[in-house]
């Protein structure tokens, strides 16, 4: 049986790549320390496969065809297309088609209908956290694209259920695979909207408290009530819900929270301590 060996979450603010120095040195050092800690935990988990849950920022999908959830089942994925990420060491990224297809089959058996892609381009949402963590080479990646960009979005409850499903798929996998999950995006931010640049720190901190308390109904109720007002980028907390579901809500630990107005994002970083540390 495969095992879930680590569950993590990280913001993926593009300006961490495009305008790193717009934030003062003290906070940059704090963010770097957070990424270093996250990287240490990811490395300690020694994953054979890393499932990364992120949105697609208009790279693979458009209004012509906009899946709610898409699993990347390819042997390889293409690195980020953004010109300002060309210097990243991720031109071609290995996939894990065997586990990805197992996940897809498990989903279909359980009443989920994901789209599948045999060739995804993984944009900044997928790669910025890995790059900032200094993960090179990458373990084989299985991307799960969740539409958190263009409404209507998948429901919050469904995203949590997707987490349950990912966990079930791992438990059903017959091989001796170590699987980790990284959810990216969030916390509060607003892009291309009238309140662009606004960060809702109160929301972010309450959100962390609900994740820590691990009462699913209250967490969902809180998010139903408050998520939309926290900015369109806060919709990416759906990805954190996938992680939270996969971890069965165990031992959420906030590794770092850095609200950086210069990057427009309340940057949050977390791990779920599966062994109850």
């Amino acid at each position: 049986m495969a095992s879930l060996v680590g569950v993590f979450a990280s913001s993926h603010a593009p300006l961490m790549a495009r305008a790193w120095e717009s934030v003062d040195a003290l906070r940059r050092d704090q963010v770097t320390a957070t990424f270093t800690e996250l990287a240490a935990r990811l490395r300690a988990a020694r994953p054979d496969v890393l499932v990364v849950v992120s949105p697609d920022h208009w790279v693979n999908f458009f209004l012509d065809n906009l899946p709610s959830v898409c699993i990347g089942v390819g042997e390889t994925h293409q690195g980020p297309p953004e010109p300002w990420l060309r210097h990243l060491p991720y031109t071609s990224i290995a996939g894990h088609p065997e586990f990805a297809l197992h996940l897809a089959r498990s989903a279909l058996e359980e009443g989920f209908e994901p789209s599948l892609s045999h060739h995804l381009e993984l944009d900044h949402g997928f790669v910025i956290p890995l790059w900032k963590m200094g993960i090179d080479p990458l373990p084989p990646l299985v991307p799960i694209v969740v539409n958190t960009i263009e409404p209507p979005l998948p429901s919050l409850g469904r995203c949590l259920a997707w987490g349950d499903l990912v966990r079930t798929a791992i438990e059903r996998h017959p091989g001796d695979l170590r699987v980790a999950i990284l959810a990216t995006g969030g916390v509060s931010h607003s892009i291309g909207e009238p309140d662009m640049g606004r960060i809702d720190e109160a929301f972010d901190r309450e959100c962390f408290e609900h994740l820590r308390a691990s009462d699913r109904e209250r967490l969902l109720a809180f998010l139903e009530q408050r998520l939309e007002a926290a900015g369109n980028g806060a919709a990416e907390m759906r990805n954190w819900l996938v992680a939270h579901g996969a971890a069965q809500g165990k031992e959420f630990e906030l590794i770092g929270y850095h609200p950086c107005r210069e990057w427009y994002v309340g940057c949050g970083f977390a791990a779920w301590n599966l062994d109850g540390r």
Binding site: F62, L63, P194, G197, N232
Partner: protein, 93 residues
């Protein structure tokens, strides 16, 4: 409601070569989108952020003005005004 052809234009301009051509000859590129509604094309030409808001995904809207060379401050000033305009509209009922 999203405007498909406006969205398609902004989506296509994510290719650096397409954006470069657009900056060089906007009308030639716009002519390739004959189904773009005249009032929408006019708003594009006027660089009217308020008129384009809501017709296209906010991420693509922000990207478009970045691609045509507008500064972040230029965009922020205009997008934030669309919020106050909307609030004014609500206040006036």
């Amino acid at each position: 409601m999203r405007d498909y052809w406006l969205s398609k234009l902004f989506f296509d301009l994510q290719t650096p070569a397409a954006a470069a051509e657009y900056r060089e000859n906007r009308d030639r590129v716009l002519d390739r989108y004959p189904l773009l509604k005249p009032e929408v094309r006019s708003a594009v030409v006027r660089e009217d952020v308020a008129a384009l808001t809501g017709r296209v995904n906010p991420y693509l809207l922000r990207f478009y003005f970045f691609a045509i060379g507008k500064s972040e401050d230029w965009f922020l000033e205009r997008i934030r005004k669309t919020g106050s305009a909307a609030q004014d509209g609500v206040a006036r009922g």
